[in-house]
Structures are given as C-alpha cells and as structure tokens.
Symmetry: D2
Subunit: 333 residues, 4 copies
C-alpha cells in the first residue's frame, strides 16, 4: 500500500500518521520527493481501511497494491478450482448447464421440466422456491414446499439442484440442496455470507446489480474466510443507463475474473438481458469468452406459454442453445 | 395498465392473453387501432408482473399507469406523514439532525460524542454497532455490546437513538432502539423488510446504491404492507461513473419523492460524498430542496483524529453545519 | 404513439391538446377508460417531440410505438445491408478485420504495420491521423500528413483504409479515404453527421460512451437522411460504474441491434476494455454473438514496445486473435 | 506521478522504461521496496499518457499526483475568476440568472419573453438558434435568423445574450453574441473548443452527459490553452440508471469544482431534471450549495402552453424561482 501525502503536510501530523500505521503492525518506508512525501507500507495491509486513510487531512491519495482478497486470489492459488457437485464438475475446463424454471409452481411443472432440461443437455437443475420480488404483492415463491418438489425432481432425474436462499434462518431447509444460490440483491448481505461460510455447501454467488468485480470477490472472500472454499461466481448483468436490455451483460468480467481468481465463473444470460431471443447469442459469446458454465431459465408450459417470463426459453429452444454452445466449446478447445 | 400488442399479433394469441388477464380478475378494454391493438386493463393491477407480460411474443410494450405502491403513495394519503420518535418529530415541517460516529468504539467515545452532538444541535444520536463492511477482515462492529453502549448514551443525553440492523435474527437486541436503520446494501433484503413490517419500530430505510426511487418505495411498501407505517426514507448517494466523489448525491430525489409519497425524507451527505468538506454545502442544499432532516457522521477524538473517516466532521464543524442549515430552513419558511 | 392523460384532466385542455395534435397532421383516436383517457395517434409521429408532450400538465405519460428511425429500421428493410469497400464486404455474413495503430507516427511505422496486419489477416487498415485527446497538451495526431502516410500504406498493401474525422471542415482531406470514422465523442456532433450524409463515403459510426442503442441509430439516421446509406455501426464499450476495465463492452448490443437495424455492426474490443489480454476473448465472444467484424489496435515497434498502448497487440498476437476468431466463425456457420 | 511496477518486473525492462521517461524530460526517482519498485516522476508530467504507461507489461499501476489541468487549476490561481459580460458579473459572489426559451421561434416570441424574464429578474437572456436534436426529423432551430432575433431582443432589453454553437464554421454568426454556449454533446468536440480558444468570447461550457469533473476541466483547459480564459462551467445533469428524472443533477459538483478550479459554475436545473416542478427546489439547492448562477428555461405563450417543454416555466413561475432563490442567497451571505 502506498500513501501519498499532500504537498503541505506538516512534520508533526506526518509523524503521527506513521506511528499510527506502525501501531497496526506495518512497516513504513518513507520517501521524501521534491514535491511529495510517499509512505510505502509493508506487511499485511488487508485490515487497513483505505477510505479512512484517504480522508485524512494530510493524505492526497492511497493506492492499494496487493489485493484485499486472499483466499479468492489467483496469485496464491494459480490453478483453477474445480468444484465437484455430486459428480458434476464445474471449473477447470468442465462446462456446466444449469437450467430450469424461474419459479417452482407445482409438482407437475417442476417434474416435467426437470426431465425436459435433462434431455436437452442440462447438467444441473435450477428452480426458485424463495423468490426475491420487488413488490410485496407479487408471488413470493412456494418456499419450503418448493424445495421439497425440487428434491423430488432431483430424485427422479439425478440432476443436482440449485436454489436461492434469502435468509440464514432458512438454512435447515437447504440440507439436501446441492448448490445454494445467493442472489444479486443479497451479494452484500454479509450475515448471510458469513453463515454460508460455516457450511460445506457449494455456493453460487451472483454479482450485485452495481457491484464491481473486486466487491464480488470480497463477498466470495466472506464465504471463504469462514472455511468454505466452494464458491462459484455468476455474472448476471449490471445496471447501466441502457434500457434496450434489462441489464448490461458484462462478458469482459469472464477473462478479467479469470486473471483475478481461481474460482469458476458461470453466466446467466436470461436475467442479464431479460429477452429470450438474446439468450442464445449471449450464451455462445460467454462460452467463447471462456465461461465455465451457463445458467438459463427454461419454462415448459406450452398451454400457458403466455404466462412465462420474457427471458424464458422453451425446452426445445434450450436444446438449441446447448447444441450451438457446444459447437463453440468444441471450436476453442 | 396498458398493453400494446405487436402489429402482427394473431387473433388466437390475443384472445388467450385477454382470457388470462381476465382470469386475474381484471377488466380488459380492447382498442383496435389502424396499426396497433391496445388493451386497457382495469382493476387492481398491482399483482401483474410487468416484465412477464412484456416478454410475451405478441406484446410490444406494457405501460403501468397506476403506481405499484399503495401504502406509500401520496395519492391515497395526501398529507405528510409525521413520525414521533420519543417526542422528536420527523416530517411535516419538522427538521431533524441525526448525528454520531460511524462505529461505536468504546463507552467513553460514544458517551462523549453523544453529549457533544446534542450540544451542537443534534436531535437524534446515531452510531454503528453492526457494521456492514466490504471486507471480512475489517472491524465488524461491537454488535450487541455496541447497542448497550448506545442505550447508555441515550439515557445520559435523552437523545433517541438510530442504529443499523443486518439480520432479522438480531431483532431482540433492538428492543430499546428507537429507530432501526436498514442500510443501502440491505434495501432489497426482503426477508429483513418483512420482519420489520411486523414490528412497531420506526425504520430508517436507506436507498440502495443503484436503486430507483420506485424500488425504494417498493421496499418501503414491504414494511408498510406488514402493518408498520413508520418508515423514514434516506437518500445517501447513488453509484455512477463519477469518481471525484464516493457516490453521487441525488438531491432531486427530495422533491421527486415528495410528489410520490407522504413519507419523510432525510439526506446523508457524509456517506454520499465521502468528503468532509462537501458535507456542509450538501446539507444546506438538502434543506433548501425540502428535506426533512440530515444524517451526519461526527467523530470526537481530537487526539486520534487521524483514524477518523474522511467523511466525518468534528463536533465543532457539525455545529457550524447546524447553524448554517438552520439559516436556510429559516429563509424558506 | 399513445398519450395517456392524467386522471383529473379537464375537458377543455384535452380538447386543446387533441386539436394541436391534429394540427400536426395526425389522426387522434380517443379512448375514455373508467379511470384514464388515452389518445392513440395515427400517422407520421416521427416529428412529435415526445419529451415536450410528456411535460404537459394534463399528460401522465407518452409511449412511442413506432421507432423514430426510418432508414435504419430493419422493419422497412428486412435484408442485411452489405457494404462494399473496394472489394471488401462488410455485413450479410462477411466478417472484416480492421487493424492498425492507434496513431500514425511516421512513414516507416505505418508502412511496416500495414504489411504486418495484412499478413496476419486484416482486411482493412486503420490508423489515427486526427486524434481526439482529453488533454490539449497531448499529441493531437499528424493530421493531414498522417492521412497522406495512410494513403501511401494503402497503395503498398492494397488494404482499404479507415481513419477518424473530427470536423466537417476537414472533409477535403478525406477524399481518398475509404471509410471515415466518427468517434464516440462525436456521435452526436450533428453538424458533422449532416455533412457526412451529403457525401458518398462509407461511415464507421462509433457508439457514444453513454449513448443508448436508439440514440446510436438516430445518429445513423442523421447520415442516412442526407442520402448516404453506407453506415457501419461500432460498439466500443460504454461508461459504467465498473473500473476494472476501461469501459464495459456491451456485446448484447450485437443481437439487439441486429433486430433493430439492417446495418452491419463491428466491435472494438481494444478501446472497450483498454487491456491487451482481454482483446482476444472479447473478439471471440463478439464473433460468437454475431458481429460483422472487429476493429483492433495493433502496434509494431518491438524496440519501443514500452510506449505502446495498454490495449494494443503485437502483430503476432493479432494473428492469433484472427486465427481463434476464425475458428468461432467457422463453428457457427 | 508515481509508477508502481509489478512484483516480477525485470531489470532490463525497468531500465528501458526509466530511460524512456527520462527521454521525455522527466526526473525519475526509484524506490526499491521489499515487494515493489516504485518510480517517482518529477517535472512536467502533463504530457505523459497515463493510460499508455498503465498498459505496459511491467507496470502495476500509475497514479497522477498533480492534476493535468493548469490554467483552470485553483492551485495556481487561488482567487475566483469573475467574468464581466457587458456589465453583468459572473463568479466571485455575483449570482446570475440566465433565462429564456429553449428555441427561438418567432420575432414576437423572443421579444416578449425577453421583456418578461428581465422583469422577473433575469440578468442574461438565453435562446436556442442552433438546436442539437436527437432526431434529424425534429426542428433544427432558426439558425442564423434566430441569432438575429436574439440580437434584436438584446437591443430592446439591454440583456446580454447566451446561445449555443454547434460547429466552428458558424463562428462568424456569433460576432455580437455575448456568451457562446457549448452543449453537453459537444463538450469533447475538441476542434470546436480549440476554435473558441482563439476567440475572446465568453464560453459557457456544459458538462457532458457522462463526463467526469476532471474531463470537464480538461475541456475548459482546451479553451484556456488557446488564450481565452473566459470560461463558465455548467452542470446540467448526468446520465445514470435512474429514470424518474431525465438526468441526475449532480449538485456536489458545485463545491467539488470550487475546490478544483477558480472558474464560475452555473446550474441548469431545467435540462437536468426535465420536470418543471423540480426546477424551483433544485434552483434553491444550487444556490445553497454555492453556485454562481442558474440557467432556466422559460416559455411565454399562454395560449400555446401545450406546446412548451416539460421542463419550462412560465414567466410568473420563473419570477417565483428568482424570489425564493434570492432568499437563499441572502441567508447564506
């Protein structure tokens, strides 16, 4: 960490700052330039609050050199993490397809769709039991009952299951869930992250709507710092000024995250774009950019197709996505 | 709600959609234009998922006419809500000053600062016991012990207290807290909002970093739908491309929210700008724009001033903010 | 266009509005709902200022149904536009590689690099003669002299050339330039767009840093309305809150624009990411998403590699990008 | 400027970089830390391209310490610049009201409104002759004829006039215009800025929709570097994710810019919010935050009020804004 002092910083204040930093157990290396004094900090600076130091009267700027994430950092863990989910591998060259409906609605719905997405190429089954909805008047999900239906579908198809958690208090309901999803709105629900860090569950952590890649890794770090290293990152679109798509899918996050961390990265083109016809080209682009998998919303009610989300594909359309994405994966091998 | 169909929408699909909408208990009024068919929906449309309908093959666009928030809507509640916090009124012309340190650090610290901010004009005392920190390695707050210290300071000064909650499971610790704060990162932690809706606590709800004003009101609606109407909204800066300030303080939110809702609105210029010298001009601007109060970070350790946040004021600087803001309030009466 | 009136709109004002709209030559179809009155406008609404109508006292909202762009609209021109640039086709299945240095620096530099990018697979040569720089103290380009050097490189290699224009007054210097580029900062320099609309030059129009896709098409429309239909669109990253990459490359713009317009779309991963190692994965992703070409910065001074931009590739690295991108193109055929 | 090298940077490359930097006339001070090597650059670093150096293989990061703007920098010019516009002073404690219609439409319109805004308290008259419109099919302004009408209104009222320029080629038409406005979309039209730098016109420079404060100052620097120091900055809203207001008015820009530069700063609440009822509270807030003036859209056609913009005030409403804003100015004196 480098602390750049202001031109006019007085000796006494500078000395006070140096002592305070040394009090934190850091080595302080002072460089007196013609115009500026620079302090180089040596040691474990991960506990220094960069915003706090930046705000000091005598400080011009602070530059963190080493990243504040340790467990998630590729520097200290050069090999890709490969996560084994009941035999389905994610990361390190294994590409996964997570598919299923937005919400679990009935035993028939989830059972049927589970079989259909499996036949179409899905390797994991997703379905929402707890639904974070902007409106308190909207359907909030079947909750515990929905998880039971999902577990039943898992039994029937053999597909490991992924479903979202919204509160640490619900953890007991997730006992047999293979992958616990943390949604974008809860990416910085730190109490939930801490609780998941104490479990041995695979966690699929979605990037917040306006979270930087570093913040995403810091949230992964919350889970990993608790001892649970099984974290899968998920980019699902960020909020920008553009209104043509629901969010803006940031595919450069894939190679960027790959250079920062060893954790696997999956892409959710359904939520990112909010438009069914964009799912296939974005899925193919994600594979071309080096993603470790896809998370795609699939509906199965032809007679009620009207009610399905704008971002949802039919099982047939999903099968086509898998086929075309596999061509990309084959081509870049 | 108005549903605009695509040019080429077929009769059968249109009929299916109309039947589905009628099945939701809505009246459907069809308008066949030369080029377009428009469906006007009558009745309670708050349960219709606008994104879902938008995504239908035959739908060009959907326009919600009535707002999806009911309890928070000024249309149905024209008078300002005035919240009484142990005798301190917020809203309807009463201006409040919420002041105190970012984190509670020790009995002496919070006791001293409580007296100082009271003397300087504060009407409510704030202090962080549970601290949402980006890094798991940063100080996470004194938690329950911090609340005890805050309660002690309340006893000594008579100032009602405001402190942040991070998980519904911690609610019992907040029994004697006057105002429970929901932080920006938890604005869409819907399980927490629901839990607060079942209490009779005053809730200070901070706008998320990338939340629209309508989303803020929908989160207030979560609390109010549970029966708790004592919600204070707080604008604390939104995330934009600009890096000169930590966030961009959206002061137009004040008159805009005033036209949308009857709830009181306070402004937090400390977190919004992240720069101490900007707190005073932004506090004055907030008052001029019609805010119902301010939330300001104040530190009190002159001998440890180095360690205080970049956005924190000394008690003296805070007294100056109060004095100058009061002049504005006087001028616009 | 649909105009939704406020609940309490008075008859007289409504009548005035209807008359004014009819005065613009539009048919007005009035729908009196239980709660709302809606006006359906028929005829050419492209001249109606939507913001102006939205602002009227009695208007709740306005919804444009038909897009305000005509010439660029795929609805009226279903087939892909294919632009022939001295034998190099862009659009309709032909993939182009535009490559070259950020700035033209010397006769040797541009001559050498032109040969190298041609050998590596480039189909068009780019090079900056006029350089839009944030700082007035930075190198502003070789201007007219640079264009001469570029023309010389064109003669030697046979590659058609692409270079940026910054002012309509410079047009005479572009007489022999094959493709005139309009940079992101000039996307809404309407006087420049109008001037280009009166030429028969191929125009490569870059999306502005915070321009929506519709605004990009409206700027293309400025050129096309003047009679010049040879417009190539270019996505080069948008400005968001994320700082890990210079800008955020919006690859969903490719399929989205493809549905809105018949014009070809190329992607500039160099400027979008600002990071050399991200150019290859983003180039491959762009091809997978259906782009019509790439624009890539290549430098050629091994002995001065230090001075080259962070986003620039060596000719060898560029050859690798072409090879890998061609695999994607082959796979998706 | 501080250049932070990567951990593993090799001696030879480092030496090459140092020589290259010295070749630019800079002093290079090397600091070898335990983990990192840091280069401190001394001398005029304004010509160093920070993005270029950042991109070098061996460079971890670059931190500019001195700002790249010189003429606009308050450090080198501590006193407020006061600009005299035919007797109307802007800056240094003098508050100006720039008012008038969005577009000049007819001799009667501009003549009438000029008298009305003068009576209401305006100190400068604005009116658009050249209109930057998103659509080529929208009214593009009366151009030269509009300027003549504006000059006539100036003669009749004595108010100095402000009007927008869109192309340097139109400069001769602006001979008698007092203040030449550069619109948000042209803030980085560098050829236009350079041309204005060679005139002795007062320039009102609007912040681009997604321009940082530093970029705004760099554009001012373009004008000032040419010898013209009469620049007034104007904040008019930035583009964010929020859609409740047309743009987000960034009032923290006022105190922030005041600390960075000595140039006057005016606020345009009309364009920023796009909503007439928000103009007054935002005008008052701007004054409270320390602005040097306001730019407000006023219309005057009561019989055609329907046609006026959503952001426009009547002369009476403008008079009320002046009265209330003057109370704020009085209060903070």
């Amino acid at each position: 960490m480098v602390v750049i002092l202001k031109n006019n910083s007085q000796k006494e204040q500078t000395q006070q700052l140096i002592e305070w930093l040394e009090g934190l157990g850091l080595g302080v290396h002072t460089v007196n330039g013609h115009y500026q004094t620079i302090l180089g900090l040596l040691g474990d600076t991960s506990k220094v609050d960069i915003d706090m130091v930046k705000g000091l009267e005598i400080v011009e700027d602070v530059k963190r050199i080493s990243e504040p994430y340790k467990n998630a950092n590729r520097k200290f863990h050069p090999d890709d993490t490969v996560i084994d989910i009941n035999g389905v591998k994610v990361g390190g060259g294994s590409f996964c397809y997570i598919a299923g409906p937005c919400s679990i609605e009935s035993p028939e719905q989830i059972a049927t769709i589970a079989k259909e997405v499996k036949a179409a190429g899905a390797t994991l089954l997703r379905g929402g039991a707890f639904k974070p909805r902007t409106s308190p008047y909207a359907f909030q999900g079947m909750r515990g009952e929905g998880i039971d239906l999902l577990l039943h579908a898992k039994e029937e198809t053999g597909l490991p299951i992924v479903t979202e958690i919204m509160d640490a208090a619900h953890l007991p309901l997730f006992e047999n869930v293979d992958v616990v999803q943390v949604g974008a709105r809860n990416m910085q629900n730190f109490e939930l992250l801490k609780a998941l860090g104490k479990t041995n569950k695979v966690v699929l952590l979605k990037r917040g709507l306006s979270s930087t890649l570093q913040e995403l890794l810091m949230s992964a770090e919350y889970i990993m710092a608790g001892g649970n290293e099984k974290v899968i990152l998920c980019e699902r679109g960020i909020r920008t000024f553009e209104t043509a798509t629901r969010n803006t899918l940031d595919l450069s996050a894939i190679p960027m995250l790959k250079s920062m961390t060893h954790l696997p990265i999956v892409i959710d083109p359904s939520h990112a774009t909010g438009i069914a016809k964009l799912v296939k080209p974005m899925a193919m682009a994600a594979a071309a950019a080096g993603a470790d998998g896809l998370m795609i919303e699939v509906h199965n009610n032809p007679e009620k197709a009207l009610c399905d989300g704008p971002q949802s594909l039919t099982p047939d359309a999903f099968a086509d996505v898998v086929k075309c994405t596999n061509k990309i994966i084959e081509a870049i091998k």
